[in-house]
Symmetry: C2
Subunit: 678 residues, 2 copies
């Protein structure tokens, strides 16, 4: 039985409609939960961790919306530090000297519930520590890396500028080497060169890892990283020449304290440039980095993390909307019967179940992505870089698809909750906002898909010449050699093949259009820009092919033998829904290269409806199986006990406006106006 926590003072007794759903499920929820969280031991640990992290939290996170901006930022500090302390203590207790709990879990989605106001130090522990390890030399690690790791100083990663995002070479912040003093002189030459966005930079950090253009004797030497102090450790005052502050209110992440930063002749020692790879010698000699692979690797890791985080975001939103749909009753199906649970409306099932299936598909795909990541990491340590482009491109496409689907999917789920989904206490809008941010940070999605598109162009060329392909692009081989699809049968493996074949066909179209444009005399870059739509479409289908194939392999592969028959049936139903729905979603791409009869199309629609019907009795149990803690959901609509109306009402009463029967504004504004005879 999962540990749950009622966040509002209402009955803990489970809503009878939800209890009925749980009693009626065809499988054991705990088997699902163990599977979802990677085994019994991990599930047990996760639940204990939640207990420890959340047990002393008393306030519902929706009350944050009534706090002032300053209060939210203060709370973010407090909650982040409490979380750090707790994780550190658990690490000491369970596995002293390890780092699997602290700092690893500090940036994990599972502990989000502990920092509802935001965590300004996510970047420090998700990126900066690793970056100093990988980019700095030993002396630098000793001098400041350890202080960062020990949380003695606070840092962030300052790359993005007001006028410059994804295109790294466009950055304008300068670091000019002055060999007379052996210092770099930092400058922000224009307004658009101001650093802008780094989490925690506003008022929480006293150092940062700065990305700037290195100049020696006014000659550009490319982008390098510098460790820079920005505030005094004792007084926290910005150091001379430093213009620093907070970038203002955002859609979400209200307490993340994203900052801006400008430099005016700020000097730092030569030894503050990260010098494990590229180097500047005291006399100003520049030594190029032997390989830029490792920089690149942190970025790949971040994208893997974002992809899997957003699989979870979708699963969280689906949990809230599905539970609510079992509790809410609306619009009779038969006029003389009472209003049914809205989950009985087929149109509502269509809003919920495909998102559940997608969340499962994305979870499996990102798990598979992490496996490839670890394999590739091992390869690289052995000096083998072969699979790196594949990993990089897979991470790009899954980052783009998982975030875009989580953003749009969570919004569909929010809308599926009707008016109440609009209330902040439903908390769905915050998950939408979280996924929305992930669509643009760490590589804007379209830019990432264009990169994948270029990879696919190379792969197609290789495939046509029967050269070896990356395993995840191997489905291109047959179509590139002119092999037709064969026949649409509609069985599951056939649908996966059809999606792959449609992906290959989009790749072919993009390739041919590129070739034609080159023939017309366009440069390669112009041709690529003009083929942008086809390239992104091909990249999207490439990603979906991977997700579909992974899902199929998982459900039908050898691991099935370790699962109960009941549970396998549930997974099969989810797979069926995912594949049929994905095929329908990309039907026009499929029908451009595979012939489907009118009856095939009708069969697809019937299968979709059948899949919805089959999932109906298990829907609540499935989202229970995700096993997300009430504190993570933080939703009046989605808590485990499901006392929705009581929770909405109790929270409404906590609105500051409801603390007195008549607001002051009645006397000062409303009454004078009404008496004034407009």
């Amino acid at each position: 039985m999962p540990a749950k926590q009622n966040l509002v003072r209402v009955s803990e007794v489970v809503n009878p409609d939800l209890q009925k759903e749980r009693d009626g499920a065809s499988f054991r929820v705990d088997e699902f939960a163990r599977w979802w969280h990677g085994g019994a031991e991990k599930l047990r640990f996760k639940r204990e961790l939640e207990q420890e992290l959340f047990n002393d939290m008393t306030e519902h996170s929706t009350l944050l919306h009534y706090k002032s901006y300053e209060e939210i930022c203060e709370l973010a500090l407090k909650q982040s530090f409490t979380l750090a302390r707790k994780l550190r203590a658990i690490q000491q207790r369970i596995n002293p000297g390890g780092n699997d709990i602290w700092p690893k879990l500090f940036s994990s989605t599972l502990v989000w519930g502990a920092t509802p106001a935001g965590n300004p130090f996510l970047v420090q522990f998700a990126m900066v520590v690793d970056a100093i390890k990988m980019q700095g030399n030993k002396e630098q690690w000793e001098r400041f890396g350890k202080r960062v790791e020990n949380f003695e100083i606070t840092t962030t990663y300052a790359q993005t500028e007001l006028g410059h995002g994804t295109f790294l070479r466009g950055l304008e912040t300068r670091a000019d080497y002055d060999r007379t003093t052996q210092e770099f002189v930092l400058n922000t030459p224009t307004l658009s060169a101001y650093k802008w966005w780094p989490g925690g930079l506003g008022h929480c950090c006293n150092y940062c890892l700065l990305v700037a253009q290195l100049y020696i004797d006014n000659e550009p030497k490319g982008v390098q990283m510098f460790f820079v102090q920005v505030r005094d450790e004792e007084t926290h005052m910005p150091l001379p020449g430093i213009d620093i502050g907070e970038i203002g209110h955002k859609m979400g992440f209200h307490g993340a304290n994203n900052g801006f930063l400008g430099f005016k002749n700020v000097r730092i020692p030569r030894t503050n440039m990260m010098m494990r790879n590229a180097k500047v010698q005291p006399d100003g000699t520049f030594v190029k980095s032997p390989a830029s692979v490792l920089t690149y690797f942190t970025m790949v890791m971040m994208r893997c993390m974002i992809a899997s985080d957003n699989a979870l975001v979708l699963a969280i939103a689906a949990t809230i909307a599905t539970r609510y749909s079992a509790v809410r009753r609306q619009s009779p199906i038969n006029p003389n019967e009472p209003e049914p649970q809205i989950i009985d409306h087929v149109t509502q099932q269509m809003k919920l179940f495909p998102e559940i299936a997608t969340a499962v598909a994305h979870q499996l795909a990102t798990k598979s992505l992490w496996s490839i990541y670890h394999e590739t990491y091992g390869d690289i340590e052995r000096g083998n870089y072969t699979r790196l482009p594949e990993l990089h491109n897979l991470a790009c496409s899954l980052k783009a698809l998982c975030t875009a689907d989580a953003n749009a999917g969570a919004e569909r789920l929010r809308l599926a909750c009707g008016g109440h989904g609009y209330l902040s206490s439903a908390n769905l809008h915050m998950f939408v906002a979280s996924a929305a941010a992930a669509c643009t940070y760490e590589g804007e999605n379209t830019v990432l898909l264009l990169q994948v598109g270029r990879f696919l162009m190379k792969s197609w060329r290789a495939a046509r010449e029967a050269e070896p392909l990356a395993p995840t692009a191997s489905y291109l081989a047959a179509p590139a050699q002119g092999k037709g699809f064969g026949k649409w049968t509609g069985d599951l493996a056939n649908i996966v093949s059809a999606i792959q074949y449609a992906a290959a066909n989009q790749v072919r179209l993009a390739f041919e259009n590129m070739a034609q444009r080159l023939k017309q005399g366009q440069t390669r870059e112009e041709a690529a820009n003009n083929t942008g739509l086809e390239l992104t479409q091909a990249a999207e289908l490439h990603g979906r092919s991977f997700i579909a194939a992974t899902f199929l392999a998982h459900v039908t592969g050898p691991a099935a033998a370790e699962r109960s028959a009941e549970f396998n049936r549930v997974l099969q139903n989810l797979l069926e829904l995912y594949l049929v729905h994905t095929a329908q979603r990309h039907l026009s791409a499929i029908m451009q290269c595979i012939s489907l009869s009118d009856s095939d199309l009708r069969t697809l629609q019937t299968r979709l409806e059948t899949a919805l019907k089959k999932l109906r009795p298990d829907a609540v149990a499935i989202v229970d199986g995700f096993d997300y803690h009430d504190r993570l959901l933080s939703s009046t609509l989605g808590s485990y006990a499901g006392n929705v109306y009581e929770s909405l009402f109790e929270l409404a009463k906590q609105s500051p406006l409801n603390q007195q029967p008549v607001p002051k504004s009645f006397h000062t504004i409303l009454k004078p106006f009404l008496k004034s005879n407009l």
Copy 2:
């Protein structure tokens, strides 16, 4: 030259990139603006009105995000009253005794900029005044209708309950007639019966128009309207038996003061039930309403209004994102050239231009909807109700499509602005939030589409029997009689026919599936529920058919002769993009009944890309032609002058966190933690 207003203290000089766009446009922006706003006179008046409403507003609306909830609600009161006073004064000056300015414009999208904190009295003037006129008798109009109209008292329309939304008959609030005292006794029998959502109800209204179940001698007599006092006029204290307050923080409309309301044996005089139609006589005799058409009509009017408001929302979001895309430079197309305006990337054009074209299509469709509304209103006054079902269903489908497209489209446009689109000062998220609310209020979109689906089933039956059809459903006649589509040629009229034919085919599929389910022994209602997906798909395509046909008729119809050749070319480009894009969006539905060759599909893609290219030089001028005031956009990314980075920076500096270099929390939280050796 439109009156613009720089909302941030930055240069008023137009950004050279924007100026270049304006100089390079192929048509006169003022011609577009006159067309968009309904003629030179209306445009002139709109600009004057903006001048008068906005000239004394000094603060950027993004600063609202830093105010407390109470301050926002106070400001909403102040701003609403200022707006009312100004409109009333303008009405007196220009057309005394009329109502075309006050109160008509009080709830118009064009004046939104005057009440950025929200307007708690929208419902009073958009609905309650009319409802009392239509549902109340003369005595009631004299007794309280006039007081409402004169803003001597404040009201709202209280229908939705915590547990009950779209399904009116499910409402639980009771009004029991007590003939001994000639009073109704109001009660809220359960928690789910609490009124929940009415705008302004929380703390702004002292009366409300209540929708409740009438009971006489415990016999239900259906839903009726009652005028009920909820607060004392002098003290504003809730009256005895009344439990009233505010429902809490929401995604948007922060100052709208949406409220809850419960009754415990609250007594109101018999004469407070709206008695123009249904009546309760002193002895308790119930007289049924002769026709419920007029109630119905207010609802239709609200949906027409929501549809056209949301066409504007999409146009506003497109304005912001398009201007930003001309200012922002990112990612070189050719490696040795500077970073281009992002509007030069084809993938960016694909994010912007279809939304612009859709906004134009929706504007034309909703104008046409209003014409049908006024015709039908005239018909009804002459006792002819023939076109009412058609109007009702057209309003339902356009309300659903215009809000859903505005919600998703504004979010796409927000994402098209990259990271900066996530900043609250971009203001795009507030337009997304506004459209998001419109998807569920005044009839949840799926419920509305299901209603349209039922209308289409009836129409299909009529079409098969060669009975007369509503003009907007007449395209069903030929397919229902078994006539094939003919040939796909891809010319504009042919695409519109194809969309209509695909709509008809979806209607046929839904009809046949319904029939089959009925044959299987399902009740009509069960069959309708199980056919929900097909019905909503059919309804969506029906709406798109109307929009596409209206756009085509406008561009190619006789009105073209009144426009310059240059302007007509722009409209043709927009129409081409809209139709090609709509055809692609519904390609699978089209290909289920119309045969398109591989080359037809390629041609469509080429046309899409050509249309984007043709619109590129005019994009900024087109959104300038929408002529939305800076105060309405209220966006750092989208102002007319386009000094984006300066505006972002200036506004960031106004964040409360930036008012001192070191926040208090450094001393109380951050420093103690860092010194504590975690």
